[in-house]
């Protein structure tokens, strides 16, 4: 076993060696511009791009012509929201999204709000789900778009995309989903789910960074977008800019592997996650799972370790790469807005750790992580005045804290 151990696969995934092999020719001999229509270098590059487009389309049940390559999912989210808002301005100006979305969606919405759009930010319940009734009630004749992510990047909760898509279709509203964490990890099909736009990222599925895609439905309904980047009119005019051919070739290979191994990998991620969860829950008291455990990405475990501040826990397990919802690990000094939206108290939000299991994690690594976490949590609880008070039977909520 090699240290440090990487268990932060929601942030990014390592490049699969098979993906690197697929990229290599386009980083070396086949360096052509996919838009060069008059020589072999261009043709080779174009063939690689079209092959990748097919693989990505296959992964999500789309037509290759519905895939628009971007620089990553942040750009895809921006293009979906701003592109729809621009194109359908005549029809309406109302967008519905949700408070636990990725910042790329939330901040795009806030940008549009300044430009005159009206945004509804739906709340989530304590499991992390939006209410379908609240969604229905939020739709008006001015609503042009619903944007709800498939799987959350912090708590791994998977929304009922099929039901949301059905509501959107019935009401004639376009439906965008940020499927970055879901695609290649759980079954995701744009037709079964009535999805009109979907954001994807290569580096979350063992592909390279710097390349993403936006699925844009071509039929029933045909979705049109106002581009946010102007230039040579690449990607059917929706996204100008020379294509990142090696990145796209890698994305295609990553999508192919993800599709071929999906069910096997889901089973394996689930098994490892449950192994980790079972050990932690058996050995430690007062640990809490954040978000629903059933409708969840198989590789996600987001847990609060009461009375132990997240950053100090990370410091103790410095040979393990995971993330914390604690304020101290972020620049904002606010604990995770996602956990807050789920109603997790700020006290517990500060104690949360996100474990993101991935393709290359092993049983041995899971056991090592569990052992280390248990050891450090115990040590820090011995150091925690809150744990001591709780053990004395003091209700921490009733304490008048000096800093409040």
């Amino acid at each position: 076993m090699k240290l440090p151990i990487y268990m932060d696969n929601h942030a990014t995934t390592p490049l699969d060696p098979r993906v690197l092999d697929a990229m290599m020719p386009y980083l070396t001999d086949k360096f052509g511009n996919a838009a060069s229509r008059n020589h072999q270098f261009g043709w080779d590059a174009e063939a690689a791009v079209e092959d990748a487009r097919k693989q990505i389309a296959l992964l999500i049940g789309a037509d290759p012509r519905e895939i628009v390559f971007t620089s990553g999912a942040t750009e895809s989210d921006n293009l979906a929201l701003k592109g729809v808002a621009g194109m359908y301005r005549e029809k309406g100006n109302h967008i519905i999204t949700c408070v636990t979305e990725h910042k790329a969606v939330l901040d795009s919405c806030k940008h549009l709000e300044k430009e005159g759009c009206r945004i509804t930010f739906l709340p989530v319940n304590d499991k992390g789900f939006i209410s379908l009734d609240e969604l229905r009630n939020a739709i008006t004749d001015k609503t042009i778009l619903i944007s709800i992510m498939t799987a959350n990047n912090e708590v791994g909760v998977v929304q009922d995309i099929q039901a949301i898509g059905k509501i959107a279709r019935e009401r004639g509203v376009l439906f965008h989903t940020d499927a970055v964490q879901a695609a290649g990890k759980i079954p995701f099909n744009v037709n079964d789910m009535n999805v009109d736009l979907a954001s994807l990222s290569a580096h979350k599925m063992y592909g390279p960074k710097g390349v993403g895609a936006l699925y844009v439905r071509r039929r029933n309904p045909r979705v049109l977008l106002t581009p946010i980047i102007d230039g040579g009119g690449h990607e059917r005019g929706m996204r100008s800019g020379t294509l990142n051919v090696p990145g796209i070739a890698g994305f295609g290979k990553a999508a192919q592997i993800a599709r071929e191994d999906l069910s096997q990998e889901m089973t394996e991620m689930f098994r490892l996650r449950e192994r980790l969860r079972a050990t932690l829950e058996r050995e430690l008291d007062e640990v809490y799972i954040n978000g629903d455990l059933e409708k969840r990405l198989p590789g996600n475990l987001n847990m609060s370790f009461a009375y132990v501040e997240g950053e100090s826990l990370l410091m103790g397990i410095h040979d393990i790469a995971v993330s914390s919802g604690s304020a101290c690990t972020s620049a904002s000094l606010e604990p995770s807005y996602v956990l807050k939206a789920l109603g997790v108290g700020e006290d517990l939000a500060h104690t949360s750790i996100r474990f993101g299991l991935g393709r290359f994690n092993t049983d041995e690594e899971v056991d090592y992580v569990a052992t280390r976490v248990i050891e450090v949590v115990r040590r820090l609880r011995d150091l925690s005045p809150l744990y001591e008070m709780a053990k004395e039977g003091i209700d921490l909520k009733s304490v008048h804290w000096a800093a409040e």
Partner: protein
């Protein structure tokens, strides 16, 4: 974020962890911070009533590594000092000693507050 060697040392080997009997007349207890803010420090001192010298100090801290290090250092520094001398410890001294970055200055402020709160509690018992 990279921690200074001294912060890592205090985190790995915290000095004076534990508790003193808080009902003892010679013990002053300071509890500062709030769980919602991600930092709570409990600092206790045991004072010789004759000499007003702090003979013992203990702490427990819920917080990041810098918070743990700040309070661990605070217990080291107050030990052997009179309460008047202990009141002179400034958060900036802690920042300097531990090389805390700007985002962690509040940890040192909390440690200074904890010393003051413990002394206030002790004084209350001896009015």
């Amino acid at each position: 974020m990279a921690y200074s060697e001294k912060v890592i040392d205090h985190y790995n080997n915290p000095r004076n962890v534990g508790a003193l009997p808080k009902d003892d007349d010679n013990v002053g207890t300071g509890l500062v911070g709030a769980p919602e803010c991600g930092d709570v420090m409990k600092l206790q001192i045991k004072v010789n009533a004759e000499t007003e010298i702090i003979e013992e100090a203990k702490f427990k801290t819920f917080g990041c590594g810098s918070a743990i290090a700040s309070s661990s250092l605070a217990t080291e520094w107050v030990k052997g000092k009179t309460i008047a001398q202990a009141l002179e410890i400034k958060n900036t001294d802690i920042v300097k000693e531990l090389s805390l970055p700007p985002v962690k200055i509040h940890c040192s402020v909390l440690a200074e507050d904890a010393i003051k709160a413990a002394i206030t509690d002790y004084k209350k018992k001896h009015q």
